[in-house]
Amino acid sequence: MPHVDEGLLHAYLDGAFHPEDDDARAIAHHLGHCADCRARLEEARRLRDRAAAILAAAEPPGLDEAPPFDELLARRAARTAPPPPHRRAARLPIPLAWAASIAFAIGAGWWAHELAGPAAQQAGSATLAELDATRAAPAPEQARAPDAGQKAAPDASAAREAEPRPRVAAERALEATAAARVAPPTEVAPAEPAPAPPIHAEPTAPADDASRIRQPVPHVPGLPIVETAVATIDGARVIRIRQRLEGGDTLEIAVKEEEIALEEIVVAGFDAPPAGDRAAPAPSPAPAAARAARALKTTDDHAGERRDAVVEVPRLGYRLTLRAPIPADSLRALARRIP
């Protein structure tokens, strides 16, 4: 028998032949005598495993959790009734409403970030505006991105449906403001900023965008930025900044936008300067340190992989995660340098 053709090798590997099949026997026999073909079989195996690994890595977790079969039967039963005229529009409100509440949280978060510590506006600092400029336009149905309300704006009915949630979020924020009144009134002031994005953010036209995109992306000043990337994960935007440390290692920072936890709003009421001082050029170091002390949480990276330290810093409206192959204390020190 001549050498085994590559397609046959793959078919053989994939169990396409019954072992008693003549072709399978002939291949097995040839492989027993031909070191070349055995090597090629191993090469084919390597290729097959590599392709499988690439594909296996490419899926979100929990994808294959099947809803109960009964649900399917219920849906079929529902089909016997005439279908609603706009199935797709009817399905949209939930993610949209969710996106709208997130959009609000981000607006407040980025605004408060500016209040709490106006970061250096030095040249070369990455801004959200720059990142946004390079960001691919999301498709309408990927409506969970923070700007989803805007993208989905043409669908007026869905947008209308999406309105109630942000109000709820706004109410929550107002409750938080009320809670913060235990502090002296001047320190509560940031809850009612003059030119800041409106609390009642319109989901269809995120007014927060205009102010948000001028904000610098949090990073350690003075370290070269190697790369920035933006992803939308769970409907929240995550920005990753890679910076080069002096030793040549890479520091990774993730900035993940989050809904604001109540107590974080209250604490920010103490940290942030009064509204009248919004233009104050430098943040006082004390609030930053207090914030860091309050917020820093160090965890070991998953065992088995690189021995990286990971530090999490929750801030108002977003969460910083830092990772680098350096001691945790050094990483915490770096985290404190982020304005």
Partner: protein, 170 residues
């Protein structure tokens, strides 16, 4: 001949939704299409339920892709798929999530380098269909499937390597 669809659903749902995900690259849409596939299948009793499901799924994904083409946008940045909120831990490490997003984006771009038929056959194989089932579903000769898979796997691996190199060089 009747089909125990409940059993087929249990054994096939995962493979089917994964197959669909790698066609539409959106977890929620893949789930929707998987449900739709089963809904369309329930009232039938095909000889090979599994193969039949994948045929329906491939057609649905193709229709979906046609709609997608109309609003085609180029992907310059990675985008993760929104996951079911319930399925994800409350505070997952965003750096890891972004890495997963990159893996997904890389696999997607590598798959895009394949010819349509090669990609289809690779995904069907990866979804657990046998050579015989693939041949039945695609009309490709049984003897050609190994060759097609060999080519698809090589191209996928090469495209993926090239992307990694490009990424590392940045």
């Amino acid at each position: 001949m009747s089909v125990d669809w409940a059993a087929v659903y249990r054994s096939t749902y995962g493979d089917l939704v994964r197959f669909l995900y790698r066609k539409v690259w959106d977890a929620d849409r893949a789930r929707d299409l998987a449900q739709e596939t089963f809904l369309r299948a329930l009232d039938h009793a095909p000889e090979s339920p599994r193969g039949w499901l994948f045929t329906i799924a491939a057609n649905l994904a193709r229709d979906e892709a046609r709609g997608e083409l109309r609003r085609k946008r180029h992907l310059t940045l990675l985008r993760a798929e929104a996951e079911a909120e319930a399925a994800s831990p409350p505070n997952p490490d965003p750096l890891r999530e972004i890495e997963r997003a990159e893996r997904i984006a890389a696999a997607r771009r590598a798959l895009d380098e394949l010819g349509e038929r090669d990609r289809e056959i690779l995904l069907l194989w990866h979804a657990g269909l046998s050579y015989r089932e693939i041949a039945a579903e695609t009309g490709l000769a049984l003897g050609a499937i190994g060759t097609t898979l060999a080519r698809a796997r090589r191209r996928l691996a090469e495209a993926h390597d090239a992307l990694e190199k490009k990424h590392a060089a940045r």
